[in-house]
Symmetry: C2
């Protein structure tokens, strides 16, 4: 499985993905699930992928190949909305191609998040479904998750607000959310790729994603502090005298 | 949806279930998902249900009707293992009956937890699958969840240990786990039914389950304390200076 989170806040955008893929029980491996498309000072687009690995890799290969053609591609679409529509069409095309003759009971589906900023509009973020349609993040719902999303959802719901959450706090919350997910689900694993884009600051465009592994001192400090802190809060909550004796 | 948790600890057994059922978008209602079967001082059996409401209600009706017959039933089976097997057979029987001629794309499946103690053996706990087979809780894995289980799993993983967790702490952890689930998933709702059985103390058998609603002062104190505590721990975790400036 996979766990990916993306947030669109007033301060900017955050993307994070794990790197574990299991294609069958004896084939556990690490694959990148984060892809960047950029023109310095003009556009920055990030795609996160979850689902069938053959599908997601094919979609990304096709999108990359088309960058050199005459047609519509991620470096010439006029808006993020058009980028999401293009990603949706490509995803549908690959799923249709691969599942056409023989699918052997395999789910070829994939979910993707696409976000970023194109000069002339603000930062935007979309969740693209296997059916090719998509929804956009709003101020009320400033984040999307794909993959094993449930374990790490409560902390994001408690912390993240479009207007007020700065990017460093969003990053902290995202790593805590990954920690909860990794603790409860073996199929999500380190390292984590994380990338942040400040709103309207296209000079950030060339920074590579930060890769956070088991030995990352900040992630270690968060894990330990969160685990001890939770335990302390839990222990300090009152006990109810349920039994009379 | 539903959220149910059951734990088998050295100290005893705990069962908890929410009460929200949505059979279609405009039909949200409260139904009991906890059922007790008891013979004072001799046996105490509790069943928790999740899944298709028609299936779970039918299974419980059939199990109840058979209490008055000559055959095997929950008040005469010699062990909890046999109780789980009986529940599994009944579940399979109802699903087969209801889905036989026309299923209209509906999932008739249900998952159930059955636990308790029968005089002559220790407390036991089983998870019964829609296929009718089942697994038993062990000292390594002392709890089961059914329904919307993921949001509330991390806190249980962090806190509950078979040997050392007392029942009042298990109850506290269970309510925090419900709080996380209810915060993140609208389809799980209050009130919560909760029931605890101390190991080898059959005199508890006649206590009705405790029903915890929105106004329950203990649950309110836990919610507030947990929410504030989490926020405090989160705020005290270090921020990483991700951006240089």
């Amino acid at each position: 499985m996979t766990y990916c989170v993306a947030m669109r806040l007033r301060a900017g955008l955050l993307f994070a993905s794990d790197t574990r893929t299991n294609a069958g029980i004896d084939h556990i491996a690490s694959f990148r699930k984060m892809y960047q498309f950029q023109i310095p000072h003009q556009r920055e687009i990030v795609v996160l992928t979850a689902g069938n690995l053959a599908t997601t890799q094919s979609v990304m290969s096709v999108l990359n190949q088309r960058l050199h053609g005459d047609g519509e591609h991620l470096l010439n679409v006029p808006s993020l909305y058009d980028a999401a529509a293009l990603l949706g069409r490509t995803l549908k095309e690959i799923i249709a191609r691969d599942s056409h003759d023989y699918n052997g009971g395999v789910d070829f589906g994939a979910n993707m998040l696409i976000g970023g900023q194109i000069l002339g509009e603000g930062p935007r973020l979309f969740h693209v479904y296997p059916q090719g349609n998509f929804i956009e993040a709003t101020e009320d719902t400033p984040y999307f998750q794909i993959g094993e999303s449930k374990y790490g959802k409560p902390i994001i719901d408690r912390v993240v607000r479009y207007e007020t959450t700065p990017l460093d706090e969003a990053a902290k919350c995202t790593l805590v959310s990954f920690d909860s997910t990794i603790q409860s689900n073996l199929s999500v694993g380190l390292p984590i790729d994380m990338l942040m884009l400040r709103a309207n600051q296209f000079e950030m465009a060339m920074k590579p994603p930060h890769r956070i592994g088991r030995d990352d001192p900040y992630f270690q400090a968060l894990r330990a502090g969160w685990s001890e802190g939770l335990r302390r809060v839990f222990d300090n909550l009152p006990n109810e005298p349920w039994f009379d004796e």
